[in-house]
């Protein structure tokens, strides 16, 4: 087999020049080709197997579900023209648009959604996000391999899809708008097996079709003329993975790209220093929070006054200014603005108050930091900025509270692994969360409540747990928002963490490109973008 691979490698070496040259981003007619540089290779284009936002913001142009997310991160109908929820909140009915087709002409019917949802749930598919559909009645049996289909997923006629829940889940509309529920063509998957995700076999229903791929660095998407909302303005979108952001900016300056997204702090400074680039630089808040987590179950952080002291001793504006090249929003709450139930605006006044912090620390018995145990702050190598962020915090804690903190940087998987066990968990660590779907439930349920799988700080408050559970089950979105907000205020009063900042997405785009940008979750769909020649 290895010999075969060696020979194949040698053959591919000869062929790669041709294919690479024809897919090169600088080729194509001006105005008809949008060339984007992203920071890394996306996941393979199987909706059930997508994971990171970088992949999802590309794949959302290729696949769609019954519901979608608009630029304001609100849930809107997509392939379903209308949808409804039964008064008891358990049955969802989606009325599909008539005459929908996959790119290959196969009609899209309710049965295709039944297939798609069961496929995403199947353990054979091994989707990491199958849990988006796990609240459906009978989904458990499919997840555990005991059944092929979930009893709660039904096609009622050609154009009506009915989904029955195992229990009330007010966040389900948000979940079903996401990738594990994006419709796929069963015939194509049956025909090509695992190879269906690479062009030319890849088939979706979106405004664009993945038509070319060189390695996992260069992707070409072509407009789908039969798209139900009309043919997109830009005929072709070329996406290149360029991990080094400053290199991507240099190539953008040389005219190789129309847009560069995911700029590092270094690239932002580079852009801001150049008059042309600074006029093409854009930034917008996304739904991601970065916070400092404290081990609430262990001294000294089991004392509320210590946790509050840390909350007041850190200058978030300085962190944003120095470590993040000035882009980001100071976070005084956990849920980011834009997620219903967030209360950041109510707490917008700066929490930075050294006198108060010292007073609180003295109250806890550690006046001027005396007697405070040695503390280690761990963080994962996630973004380039983390080292700078935590070095600043280290300095601020020493200067403001007289507390010496050691820093430990770990590869991201080793870091997360260290947190999973109470034995290896440090006293302080940096943590972050970006929303997969725009609903407070995701953060509160998986990281916030007592015993949540990622509740590493050990925070536990029965009132908070109850409010989150109520909000999760509630169907009325306005009521849910109020409940999450109440829960959030209970949480903030307990100060289990130090919210640091809400992250921004940063990009450069040429002035002749219109409509390119970011919603609080993702890059705008390309069908909204046009290029003035």
């Amino acid at each position: 087999m290895l010999v075969v691979l060696l020979v194949a490698g040698a053959l591919a070496a000869g062929a790669s020049h041709l294919s690479a040259a024809s897919a090169h981003p600088s080729k194509g007619i001006a105005g008809s080709n949008l060339r984007i540089a992203i920071t890394g290779a996306p996941d393979p284009f199987d909706p059930a197997l997508l994971g990171d936002n970088r992949s999802i913001e590309l794949a959302q142009n290729v696949y769609e579900g019954v519901l979608g997310v608009n630029n304001a991160a609100q849930i809107v109908p997509a392939l379903a023209s209308t949808w409804s929820r039964s008064p008891n909140g358990l049955v969802y009915t989606f009325n599909l648009r008539h005459g929908l087709h996959f790119d290959n002409g196969d009609p899209i019917t309710a049965q295709d959604f039944v297939y798609t949802y069961n496929r995403s749930l199947s353990p054979k598919t091994a989707s990491g996000t199958s849990f988006f559909l796990a609240d459906i009645k009978g989904a458990d049996a499919v997840l555990n391999g005991k059944a092929k289909t979930a009893s709660g997923i039904k096609a009622v006629g050609t154009y009506k899809l009915q989904v029955t829940m195992a229990h009330k889940a007010g966040y389900f509309a948000a979940e079903i708008s996401r990738w594990p529920a994006w419709v796929v063509d069963s015939k194509v998957i049956a025909k090509y097996g695992k190879g269906w995700i690479t062009p030319p076999h890849n088939i979706g229903s979106g405004a664009y079709k993945l038509t070319g791929q060189v390695g996992d660095q260069q992707y070409t998407f072509t407009a789908n003329p039969g798209y139900y909302l009309g043919k997109p303005s830009i005929a072709q979108v070329s996406v290149s993975a360029v991990p080094d952001s400053t290199a991507a900016v240099a190539r953008y300056q040389a005219g190789e790209f129309d847009a560069v997204v995911g700029l590092s702090a270094a690239a932002i400074l580079q852009a801001k220093a150049n008059p042309t680039l600074s006029s093409q630089f854009h930034t917008t808040p996304i739904e991601r929070t970065v916070w400092l987590e404290m081990n609430n179950t262990k001294p000294p952080f089991n004392k509320l006054a210590v946790r509050q002291a840390f909350n007041h001793a850190i200058d978030k504006n300085a962190i944003i200014k120095i470590a993040l090249a000035g882009v980001g929003t100071p976070a005084n709450a956990w849920l980011p603005p834009g997620i219903a139930g967030n209360v950041n605006a109510q707490h917008s006044a700066s929490t930075y108050n050294v006198a108060l912090a010292r007073q609180l620390l003295a109250k806890a018995g550690y006046a001027n930091g005396k007697g405070f145990p040695s503390v280690e702050l761990d963080y994962g190598i996630n973004y380039g900025e983390y080292a700078q962020v935590y070095e600043l915090i280290q300095g601020q804690l020493e200067k403001n509270l007289g507390i010496k903190v050691g820093l430990k940087e770990l590869p991201i998987n080793a870091f997360n692994n260290e947190l999973t066990s109470a034995k290896t968990r440090p006293l302080l660590w940096g943590y972050t969360f970006g929303f997969d779907y725009p609903d407070a439930q995701e953060l509160d349920q998986y990281l916030g409540i007592s015993g949540a799988p990622y509740n590493y700080d050990g925070y536990s408050n029965k009132t908070y747990d109850r409010l989150v559970a109520e909000a999760n089950a509630e169907s009325n979105q306005a009521t849910r928002a109020k409940l999450y907000a109440r829960a959030e205020n209970v949480r903030l009063a307990d100060a289990p963490t130090v919210p640091l900042y809400f992250v921004n997405q940063n990009w450069l785009v040429k002035p002749n490109v219109k409509g390119f940008g970011y919603s609080p979750l993702y890059m705008h769909p390309w069908r909204q973008v046009s290029i003035r020649p």
Binding site: M1, L2, L5, L6, A8, G9, A10, A12, A13, S16, H17, A20, A21, A23, H24, A41, D43, P44, L49, G51, P123, K124, A126, G128, T129, S130, F131, A134, N144, K194, I197, V214, G215, D216, Q217, A241, V242, P243, A247, A248, A250, R251, A254, E256, G380, N382, L410, P411, I412, N413, A414, F415, N416, N417, E418, T420, Y446, L447, P453, Y454
Partner: protein, 304 residues
Amino acid sequence: MGRYLARRLLTLIPAWFGVTLLAFFFVHSIPGGPFDTGAVRPPATTALLEAHYHLNKPLPLQYLLYMRNVLTGDLGASIVEPGLRVSTIITQRFPTSAELGAAALVVAFGIGIPLGLIAAVRRNQIADRLVMVGATIGYAIPNFVLSILFILILGLRFHLFPLGGWGRPSQVVLPALALGLPWASFIARLTRASVIETLQQDYVRTARAKGAGPNRVVVHHAFRNALMPVTTVSALLIAELITGSLVIESLFSIPGMGQYLTNSVLGSDYTMTLGLIIFYATLLLAANVVVDVAYLWLDPRVRY
């Protein structure tokens, strides 16, 4: 010769299995598993994923299950980027690393050997001095510094070459020079020393005494023998160059394998890391055999 080759190939088998075993246990001893990415999911989903990839079984059993697939010709798929076959990465990314490595090898030998030869023949003359100063500087500058200088000067300032990317011949020039030049300097020094030493050998003196001209002595009598040390180094050099340079690949945005291997290790992508290591190991073991055979041609005294 045939028997030697057969014996040599047989010794590769335990070496190859040893590599797979070591790699397997090292890869699995990296702290943090492939699902410790920070992405949220209920513990039940994580358990299902671990079961799907046999990660819930004892390590020795996992090794056997893994090797069963490898021996039947299946290196498996990535755990972190499900759906991505290891063989896909090899067929798509290795050619790039190999092309870059081959181009850098041409630079290393194509510049290093002639310059070393000139320096040896013109020993202690101005040409020798120039070559040696150049070689010292070339060897002292790390390739990432050369890369950045090339990008800034030849790319950004004078627009002679593209700043990065891969696929067009012009995109090969700068990374190949950056990767190959330090080695060219090394080869030049090695060739010079080796040729000087050979030129003092008795048989070379004999050739001169027989009336052979200076060019004929160098080309016909000294050069082939002088290449012995260069050949020994070349196995190492080929390994160094084709396995891909992480830094060069990253600076020039070249979709090679070096970058991929590093990322897979950091992400605890067990199947991907193992597949790539086994592929490289196979390649390097084969390269060693090729070098051993090359000795036979270069040095008639070598008998097996």
